[in-house]
C-alpha cells in the first residue's frame, strides 16, 4: 500500500513528509533540499519551472514568475505567465505535483493520497480551493488540517506522556496562527485557534522594502517602485536584509544597476535592527490581537501557559521571540525545526489516517476556527432589521460537531425562508463572509412567528459544512452542503484544468539541479559588477559549455564548481 504523505503547502515554501519508523521525516527534493520554494516560472519556450529555479527567476523575470499565490486561494485572481494563464489552485497544483514527484523518488513508490495543511483562518472557500489543487495534482486529499494543529501534533507526539498547556505561535510566509493546546492523559486537545490570514513574513519583507525604497528616494532621488524588475530586486534585497538582521545588529544593502526610469542606478544603504523593528512595530502590534483572542477563547491567562512554541521561518526574528517572551513571561521554545514542524505534523495526521501502529495511542481533537451562522431579520423597536448574523456553530466548538438552533417565520403567511450562510465574528452579515444560500420552501402558511424551523449545522473534521433544515410542524427536512460557492471550480472546469495541466511541459526533474544552478547564478550576475561579474560570467559560460557536451560526469563537476562559486560570491556581497 502506498503511504499517505503530509504536505505543508506554504506561502513561500512547501514541504512533504512521511512518518517513518514512528518519526516524522521530511523528504528532500530533486536538489536534495527539504524546502521547495512555492514558486512557478515559465521559460521562453513555455517550459514550466517549479521551486528553487523559479524563485531565483523572480528577480530576473518577474513578469513570468508567480510567488505568494497561496494568498489568492479562494479568489478568482488569475496570473498570466508568458503564454499560460493560471489560477491560484493551478499554481498550487504545480507545486503539489513537484512535491509528489519528489516523494515518489525518495520513497520509490507511487504516491496517491495526501494530508494538506492550511492556515486555521482559511475559510471554506480557501479549503475547497486547496482540495481542488490536490485534485489537479493527482492527489486524493485525505484530510485538510489546520497548520497550527499540525505543528501542535508534531510537538505533542513527543510529549504525549506529559501534562501541559502550550501555545503554538506560527508565523509563516503569509499567515499568522495562534493555537492553544492541552496535553493530558495522552490526548492532544486543541483548545482554541486564532490568527490573521494576511500577516506573515512577507509583510515584514514588504515593510522593509518600503523602508529601503524611501531611503533610496531620499538619498538618490530614484523611485525604485516604478520598474517591476527594480521593485522585485529591492523586495529580494529586503528579504535578505531581514535574514541578516536576525543575527546582526546592522546590515547593508547594495544594489547594482537598478533599472530606474531610462537609465540604471547603483544604490546602497544600511539598516540597523532597531530601525527595522521600528518600521515593523505596526505588524508586531497586529500579532498581539490573535494571541489575546486565542487566550480568551481558551479561557486562560497568559501565566497559565506552560510552554510557548515557535514555528514558521519568521519566528527566527528576534522581535517576534521577544514579543512571545514578554506576553507569556517565559522563554519561547524552538523544539522543532521552525520550517519543518508543520509538514512533520501533517505526516503524523497522515499516519493517524492510515491507522499506523506507531500512533495508535494518539488522539487529537480540533476546534472550529470561526463562527458559522445564518442571516436573520429581527424586530427592534418596531422596525424590522434585516442582515443580522445569528451564530449557530460558534468558533472554538470541538469538531466534528453538530449544532441546532430554532428560527421562526417573521411575516404572516410566510411560506419560504431564505437561509444565507455566513462565516465570521461580526454582528452584521455584510461584514462576514458569505458561503452560500438556499431556500426552505413549502412552509405551512401561518401567522408570523408561528412556524418554527430547526436549522442544524454539521461540521466535519475536514471543515466541510452540511446544513439541514426541519420544519418542526410537519417534520420535513431538507439538506444542503455548502459547496456551490462562488469562485469554486465546477466539475467541468476541474476536468478542463486537469487536461490543461497534462499538456504543460514541466522541466524534467533530473536536470532540475542544472537549471537551478544556472537560474541562481543568473540572479546573482545581475547584482554584481566589475571583476566579480566577469568571473561569474565565465563560470556560467563554462557550465553552459559543459551542458552542451552532455557528459554527465563533467556536468556534475562543473555545476559543483558553479554552485560553490555562486555561494561564495553571495556571501562576500554581504
Amino acid at each position: 500500500m502506498s503511504p499517505i504523505v503530509g504536505i505543508d503547502l506554504g506561502t513561500t515554501f512547501s514541504l512533504v513528509s512521511v512518518l517513518a519508523g514512528g518519526k516524522p521525516t521530511v523528504l528532500p527534493n530533486a536538489l536534495g533540499e527539504l524546502l521547495t520554494a512555492s514558486a512557478v516560472s515559465v521559460e521562453d519556450d513555455g517550459t514550466v519551472l517549479v521551486g528553487a529555479p523559479a524563485r531565483a527567476r523572480a528577480t530576473t523575470h518577474p513578469e513570468r514568475t508567480a510567488l505568494g499565490f497561496k494568498r489568492d486561494m479562494g479568489t478568482d485572481r488569475v496570473r498570466t505567465l508568458e503564454r499560460h494563464t493560471f489560477s491560484a489552485p493551478q499554481l498550487s497544483a504545480l507545486v503539489l505535483s513537484a512535491l509528489k514527484r519528489d516523494a515518489e523518488a525518495a520513497l520509490g513508490t507511487k504516491i496517491e493520497e495526501a494530508v494538506i495543511t492550511v492556515p486555521a483562518y482559511f475559510g471554506d472557500l480557501q479549503r475547497q480551493a486547496t482540495r481542488d489543487a490536490g485534485d489537479l495534482a493527482g492527489l486524493k486529499v485525505e484530510r485538510i488540517i489546520n497548520e497550527p494543529t499540525a505543528a501542535a501534533l508534531a510537538y505533542g507526539l513527543h510529549h504525549r506522556d506529559r501534562e501541559l498547556k502550550a501555545v503554538v505561535l506560527d508565523v509563516g510566509g503569509g499567515t499568522f496562527d495562534v493555537t492553544i493546546l492541552e496535553i493530558m492523559e495522552g490526548v492532544i486537545e486543541i483548545q482554541s485557534s486564532a490568527g490573521d490570514a494576511r500577516l506573515g513574513g512577507d509583510d515584514f519583507d514588504a515593510t522593509l522594502a518600503e523602508l529601503l525604497a524611501k531611503r533610496f528616494r531620499d538619498a538618490y532621488d530614484v523611485d525604485v517602485t516604478a520598474d517591476v524588475r527594480a521593485a522585485a530586486r529591492v523586495r529580494e534585497a529586503a528579504e535578505g536584509l531581514k535574514r541578516r538582521l536576525t543575527e546582526k545588529e546592522r546590515a547593508g544593502v547594495a544594489l547594482v544597476d537598478l533599472p530606474v526610469g531610462r537609465g540604471a542606478r547603483s544604490v546602497e544603504t544600511s539598516v540597523t535592527r532597531e530601525e527595522a523593528e521600528e518600521a515593523w512595530a505596526p505588524l508586531l502590534d497586529r500579532l498581539r490581537a490573535p494571541i489575546h483572542r486565542a487566550l480568551a477563547d481558551a479561557g486562560l491567562a497568559p501565566s497559565k501557559i506552560d510552554e510557548v512554541l515557535l514555528v514558521g521561518g519568521a519566528t527566527r526574528m528576534p522581535c517576534i521571540a521577544r514579543l512571545a517572551a514578554s506576553t507569556f513571561g517565559r522563554l519561547p521554545l524552538r523544539a522543532l525545526p521552525p520550517d519543518e514542524a508543520i509538514a512533520m505534523g501533517a505526516s503524523v495526521q497522515a499516519a493517524l489516517k492510515e491507522g499506523q501502529q506507531a500512533v495508535e495511542d494518539v488522539v487529537v481533537t480540533d476546534v472550529a476556527p470561526f463562527t458559522l451562522g445564518i442571516a436573520i431579520t429581527s424586530e427592534v423597536g418596531g422596525h424590522k432589521v434585516p442582515g443580522l448574523f445569528s451564530p449557530i456553530l460558534e468558533r472554538g466548538t470541538v469538531i466534528p460537531a453538530s449544532r441546532v438552533r430554532r428560527f421562526t417565520t417573521i411575516e404572516d403567511r410566510q411560506t419560504r425562508l431564505k437561509l444565507e450562510v455566513f462565516q465570521g465574528e461580526h454582528a452584521l452579515c455584510r461584514d462576514n463572509q458569505a458561503l452560500g444560500e438556499w431556500t426552505v420552501t413549502e412552509i405551512p402558511a401561518r401567522g408570523a412567528g408561528e412556524e418554527p424551523i430547526d436549522v442544524r449545522f454539521t461540521y466535519d473534521l475536514n471543515g466541510i459544512l452540511e446544513i439541514d433544515a426541519t420544519i418542526v410542524s410537519n417534520g420535513r427536512t431538507s439538506t444542503f452542503v455548502v459547496e456551490r460557492t462562488p469562485g469554486r471550480m465546477s466539475k467541468k472546469e476541474l476536468e478542463a484544468a486537469r487536461a490543461g495541466m497534462k499538456r504543460l511541459k514541466i522541466h524534467p526533474r533530473e536536470t532540475l539541479p542544472n537549471r537551478t544552478a544556472l537560474a541562481r547564478a543568473d540572479a546573482l550576475y545581475v547584482e554584481l559588477q566589475g571583476p566579480a561579474r566577469a568571473e561569474l560570467g565565465q563560470a556560467i559560460a563554462a557550465f553552459a559549455a559543459a551542458l552542451e557536451s552532455q557528459d554527465g560526469k563533467l556536468i556534475d563537476e562543473i555545476r559543483g564548481r558553479l554552485v560553490s562559486f555562486t555561494e561564495d560570491l553571495r556571501k562576500s556581497l554581504r
Partner: protein, 407 residues
C-alpha cells in the same frame, strides 16, 4: 441528554469532581476517536460539555429538558462556557439573578466579583460578553461611576480586540449597549442618584426607578433644567424617555406618569429589552419552552402594540415646540457621533424649523432625514431609527399633523 445520562455516558457517579470528569472524558476518547467514530465522539463530547457546564454554574441551575420539547436544542447542549476559565462562572449567576428579578442577590454576586475583575487585564475577563453589561449596570446602581466607566471602556476595547460582536451585540444587547454608553457619556457632574435610577430601570425592565429618582431629586429643590440639558445633549435615548418628566412646570400627574404614557416613547422598548436580554443569557435559554420562538432575533418584545397611543391634547403655547426641537437635537448629536453627517445636518435643520413653528417645513425635512437614513448601515440605523420615530410622533402630536401623511 440529561445529567444522569451524561454521567452514565462517562461512567461517573454524581459526586465526580471536575477533574475526575475531565480525566474520564480523556480516557474514553481513546476508544471513540473523532477520526474513527464521529458519532460516538460527539455523544461523548456532548456529555462531557453538559457535565462541565453543570459544574461551572452549580448543578441545580442546569435545566432538565422538559418532556414536551423533545426537539428543543437541549438535546444538543451548546457549549456555554469554555474550559473552566477563571472568570466564567460569575456572570451567569448574576444574569440568572437578574432574570428572576432578585436584585439583592445580583447585587451581592456582582460586588463580589467586581474588584477582582477591575484588576485584571482586559483579555481573559469578558468571556461571557453581554452578561458583563449586567455588571456595569449594577455598578451604576451602586454609584460607582468610575468603575463603571472603566469597565465600559474595557468591554469596548474587548469588542474591538476579539471580534466578538456577533455573540454579544445582537438585537436587545445592542440596545442595552447603547444605553450603557449613554450612561457613560453623562459625565462626572451628572447626579449619581439619577444615573443609578436609570441603570436600575434597565435592570428591572421598567422606567419607574428613573422616575422615582427624578422625583427624589426634585424634592431636594435641585434645578432640573441643566440636568435635562446634559441628558438631551449626551444621552438622546434617555432624554426621550425621561425628558418629559423633567420638564418644568411639572404638574403632579406628569412626573408620576402612567405606563401608557411612557409607552408612547419608543424608548420604553430599550428598557424592556433589558430584562429579555438577560433572560436569554440565563441557562434556561438553551431550553426554551416549546411555545417560545427561539429566534427571530431572540425574544425581543413586540412593541408595535404599545407604541400606538391616543393623540395628545392640542398644545397650549409655543413652548410645546421645544420638545420636538430637543428630540431633533438629540438625533443630531447621535448622528454626529456616528459620523452620519447627512442625518445630523437634517436633524439640526429640523430643530430650527420646528422651534420657529414651521410645522410643514419641518415635516418635509423629516422626509429628507428619512431618506438620508436609508443608506446608513444597519448597526447605526438601529441607534438612529428609534429616536427619529419618537421625533416623528412628537412632531405629529405638536403640529396636529395627520400621522398617515408624515413619513
Amino acid at each position: 441528554m440529561d445529567l444522569e445520562e451524561a454521567r452514565h455516558e462517562l461512567g461517573l457517579s454524581a459526586d465526580a469532581t471536575p477533574d475526575v470528569v475531565r480525566r474520564s472524558y480523556l480516557r474514553l476518547l481513546k476508544t471513540r476517536k473523532p477520526e474513527v467514530d464521529p458519532e460516538g465522539f460527539q455523544r461523548l463530547r456532548g456529555a462531557y460539555e453538559l457535565l462541565r457546564l453543570a459544574a461551572a454554574i452549580g448543578e441545580q441551575a442546569v435545566p432538565e429538558p422538559s418532556p414536551p420539547a423533545p426537539e428543543s436544542p437541549a438535546l444538543d447542549p451548546e457549549p456555554l462556557a469554555p474550559e473552566s476559565p477563571p472568570f466564567v462562572p460569575f456572570a451567569r449567576p448574576i444574569a440568572a439573578a437578574l432574570a428572576e428579578q432578585d436584585l439583592d442577590r445580583a447585587h451581592t454576586l456582582a460586588s463580589e466579583t467586581l474588584d477582582a475583575l477591575l484588576d485584571v487585564p482586559s483579555h481573559p475577563v469578558f468571556v461571557e460578553g453581554s452578561a458583563m453589561f449586567a455588571v456595569v449596570l449594577e455598578l451604576w446602581t451602586q454609584r460607582r461611576g468610575r468603575d463603571a466607566r472603566i469597565l465600559t471602556k474595557k468591554i469596548r476595547a474587548h469588542f474591538t480586540q476579539t471580534g466578538n460582536e456577533a455573540r454579544v451585540l445582537q438585537g436587545g444587547a445592542a440596545a442595552i449597549w447603547a444605553i450603557l454608553r449613554e450612561l457613560t457619556a453623562l459625565g462626572k457632574g451628572f447626579p449619581d442618584e439619577l444615573t443609578a435610577g436609570f441603570a436600575r430601570g434597565v435592570l428591572e425592565g421598567s422606567p419607574e426607578p428613573g422616575y422615582q429618582a427624578i422625583n427624589r431629586l426634585r424634592k431636594t429643590g435641585e434645578d432640573l433644567d441643566p440636568i435635562r440639558d446634559v441628558l438631551r445633549e449626551r444621552a438622546p435615548s434617555l432624554f426621550a424617555l425621561y425628558g418629559v418628566a423633567m420638564q418644568p412646570p411639572i404638574a403632579p400627574t406628569r412626573y408620576q406618569p402612567k405606563r401608557e404614557r411612557l409607552f408612547r416613547f419608543g424608548y420604553a422598548v430599550f428598557i424592556i429589552m433589558g430584562l429579555n436580554v438577560f433572560r436569554l443569557l440565563t441557562p434556561s435559554s438553551s431550553n426554551p419552552p416549546p411555545q417560545a420562538p427561539e429566534i427571530r432575533l431572540p425574544n425581543i418584545p413586540q412593541v408595535a402594540s404599545v407604541v400606538d397611543a391616543p393623540p395628545s391634547a392640542p398644545p397650549e403655547d409655543p413652548n410645546v415646540f421645544k420638545q420636538p426641537a430637543a428630540l431633533a437635537r438629540g438625533v443630531a448629536t447621535t448622528a454626529t457621533e456616528l459620523h452620519e453627517n447627512a442625518v445630523a445636518k437634517s436633524a439640526t435643520t429640523l430643530a430650527l424649523l420646528v422651534e420657529g413653528g414651521a410645522c410643514t417645513a419641518a415635516a418635509r425635512e423629516l422626509a429628507t432625514m428619512k431618506k438620508a437614513l436609508e443608506p446608513v448601515p444597519n448597526a447605526r440605523r438601529v441607534a438612529l431609527a428609534p429616536p427619529i420615530e419618537v421625533l416623528r410622533r412628537s412632531l405629529v402630536d405638536v403640529c396636529h399633523l395627520d400621522p398617515q401623511k408624515v413619513p
